[in-house]
Symmetry: C3
Subunit: 359 residues, 3 copies
Amino acid sequence: MQLRELAEKLNCRLVGDGEIEVCHLAPLHEACEGDVAFVVNTRDLSKLEASKASAVIVHEGSPPCSKPALLTNDPYLAFVGALRLFYTPDGPTPGIHPSSIVHEGVRLAEDIVIGALSVVEADVTIGRGSVVGAQVYIGKGSRIGADCRLYPQVMIREGAEIGDRVIIHSGTVIGSDGFGYLRDGRGVRIKVPQVGRVIIEDDVEIGANVTIDRATIGATRIKRGTKIDNLVQIAHNVVVGADTVIAALSGIAGSVTIGDRVTLAGQVGIIDHVEIGDDVTVGAQAGVAKSLPSGSVVLGSPAVPHLAFKRSIAAVSRLPSILNTLKRIEMRLASLERTIEEGDIEAQSSQSTSERRLH
Amino acid sequence: MQLRELAEKLNCRLVGDGEIEVCHLAPLHEACEGDVAFVVNTRDLSKLEASKASAVIVHEGSPPCSKPALLTNDPYLAFVGALRLFYTPDGPTPGIHPSSIVHEGVRLAEDIVIGALSVVEADVTIGRGSVVGAQVYIGKGSRIGADCRLYPQVMIREGAEIGDRVIIHSGTVIGSDGFGYLRDGRGVRIKVPQVGRVIIEDDVEIGANVTIDRATIGATRIKRGTKIDNLVQIAHNVVVGADTVIAALSGIAGSVTIGDRVTLAGQVGIIDHVEIGDDVTVGAQAGVAKSLPSGSVVLGSPAVPHLAFKRSIAAVSRLPSILNTLKRIEMRLASLERTIEEGDIEAQSSQSTSERRLH
Amino acid sequence: MQLRELAEKLNCRLVGDGEIEVCHLAPLHEACEGDVAFVVNTRDLSKLEASKASAVIVHEGSPPCSKPALLTNDPYLAFVGALRLFYTPDGPTPGIHPSSIVHEGVRLAEDIVIGALSVVEADVTIGRGSVVGAQVYIGKGSRIGADCRLYPQVMIREGAEIGDRVIIHSGTVIGSDGFGYLRDGRGVRIKVPQVGRVIIEDDVEIGANVTIDRATIGATRIKRGTKIDNLVQIAHNVVVGADTVIAALSGIAGSVTIGDRVTLAGQVGIIDHVEIGDDVTVGAQAGVAKSLPSGSVVLGSPAVPHLAFKRSIAAVSRLPSILNTLKRIEMRLASLERTIEEGDIEAQSSQSTSERRLH
């Protein structure tokens, strides 16, 4: 594609030679001839000259550079647009691979894809345009909506409901049993049957090796548009709101309710049965031990409001100096007490303060 | 089923109309007509009137409610009993699915189930009543006891020993190599062969996407009745005692020994080679860096006794006020020192304390 | 094997009866007759007498023991050598299992192994001596080097590059999409296409249920000799240096660069876009929120230099006593202030200090 054509399609202002041919996108430091690089942070502008990129997408108002440039108010948006132009994913081979085991009584839209060696149990429904990868398992009675993408080795247990345009990455387990036991008189744990299900609403994306447990009764539910990173644990009866983001290695215990537009950073833990409001942000590695009102921003384990956390961290880092201050205060106090006990005020007062502190 | 009949089977006291028909269990907020809800926490009693449940299981001694009720001293136990009455799991299709690859020399009880596209290597033994799901892998020489349940996509490496009534959820890997290396003179890591195995005793349940490494030599062992949640890591040569509970995303490093009836909350880490006694409780996100005697209750990273942790947390939250107090003390001290140096006691003493503190 | 022969092969000094037959290695407490045990920690020497081991590998210079012994300056190295002598892994059945689905246009070395029910997509290359387990998925155009080992149920997405002698354990997902979204004006997240790839260099070992995301553009890269434990998350565009070690349940966010010979202990988190130098050590459960120069040793969340962390921890544990000290200081101060206000110095000075403190 000519750079001029790319500029038009991305709605960018072209500066420099528009006749050059470009065919790939690449990070600044990996770019070769024919590649378009992009600069989001102005601090990276300095690396531009050393890059072999043929052209660059930069912020409107950036200092002039020696390479042909596409200027825009949102370089990242233009970059994503260019990704969509340059890389059209391979259409998978249509149809159901003959090595897959598809049980009777399934309702499959005509244009779906099922890869090799997958298992689709009885009474499963799969909507139009959905692509099921190789070696996937879909349990009895589960419903998969339209235009979904299940990558190889996804596992969905019986009775799950998956909306439209849902993406699930490899190794993820949907609908495993919740972790529920009843202790009998001797302390032995009796398994509580987990007979609920999992509901994943439209436009949710779930990363690799995630686990989402089915509800004991009722449903574990992930609402519309929420994005879940790799290796996240969602326990039974959890409800995650819409447009929420959960980063890798976070764990949400049973019966937690999370609101809309919440952000959980990586390795966050949330104790069971709490309620997290809307628009809450939980910092990385925080441990939430009680309910949080909408709009909260918390950090730490146990999690506290982020300003309190920062004050505590700052204060803790000053602790060694606090200990020193305390020692000095006690010495000064002892000195004063001695002075007063001895009634020897006039004599003392003739000494300098600094001398006294050295005692 | 009539409510009267349910009351009898669950050994509950019926209050209200026993003739109504009930057919499902549901959480209070999801219940429809025909559903039985249950209330464990008395704070949830207020939600009962708004619920559409036809009847409710409540604690004996709860305030009277407008719906037919089953009263019992243990509503959760009655709820679990009702689960067992209402939901009998589908018996899986008996027999070995013809698409599975079962090697010669296996010893399989007559009534076992092996789902589609599973692989059972040579010299495997599977006891009566066990159900192996689809796409499972069982490595050479492994032994699976009676009445076990392996969900789809479980992976068991060679030489594992699994007891009776063991449940393993999807995506879990049993017997992967331990993480052991020897550094040569140049700092390059040489792999230590991991030739031990994994032993899982009776009545253990293991969640989804768990990893349990084989021992270097000897065995990694999970003892009778222990329950392990999703995404837990158990390293080589770990021994976990009986009736212990390990919550999601916890990691136990190599050669750790854990006692009986221990509880590890979520995201706990335990450093290698330590010994955790019996009846220990480790709080969520705690990091155990040394051995713990039986009965310990610890929190924090590094973990300390829970009372010490709570005192520290409380003290840290008071740090900003401590800093203020220190400042005030230093000012008062300086003022006293000045007073005494100046020998000007009588003049000072005529001022009020509060005035002086404001300086 | 006779003990004498073992001593020669391991280059150890034999003390005691060299004619005895030994055939296994075992930990001290599990060893039976015919087993060789080994003692690395001298504190374990006391357990030697109670052990049923027939012989023992001990450190040159250890106190004499009653069993035949192999003495060496590096017992662990001798133990690993003995492991290699005693346990030769089963050669897997050579060839490609007929149940596997191998697409046209693959380039497979002659002597490779592909287990049952695996899927190898188009344009895949696999080098000589590599063993691909059962139920593995290898995506279109991926290249696997020589002498690699992919355990059952590994999943490799399209376009990955795997070097020579790489080991990947079960359940691990290589090349899942990076976690990248663009928010439109209404806060809805638009998926950023993830069109980069994953490069794993020679001699890397990757544990079970690990996730390594493909790059947005360019490559996520794991350099030569690095070892990754189970359940680790490596996000898009991360670069991990050579000979680095990453313990279980650690998570590395997008675009992080990690140097050579770095150690990340378990459950470590690293925030996106930071740079970790060479020879850095990050302690267990630490949370790295900024770049770290080479040679750093950090602990805590947020991570700080380990000495500062230890000082802080020590100081925090002293906080309750600091609060007491503060209270005492304030009482002494108030007492002094009262004394001076009252001008009553001579009367006070006749009381003992200890009495005054008790008020």
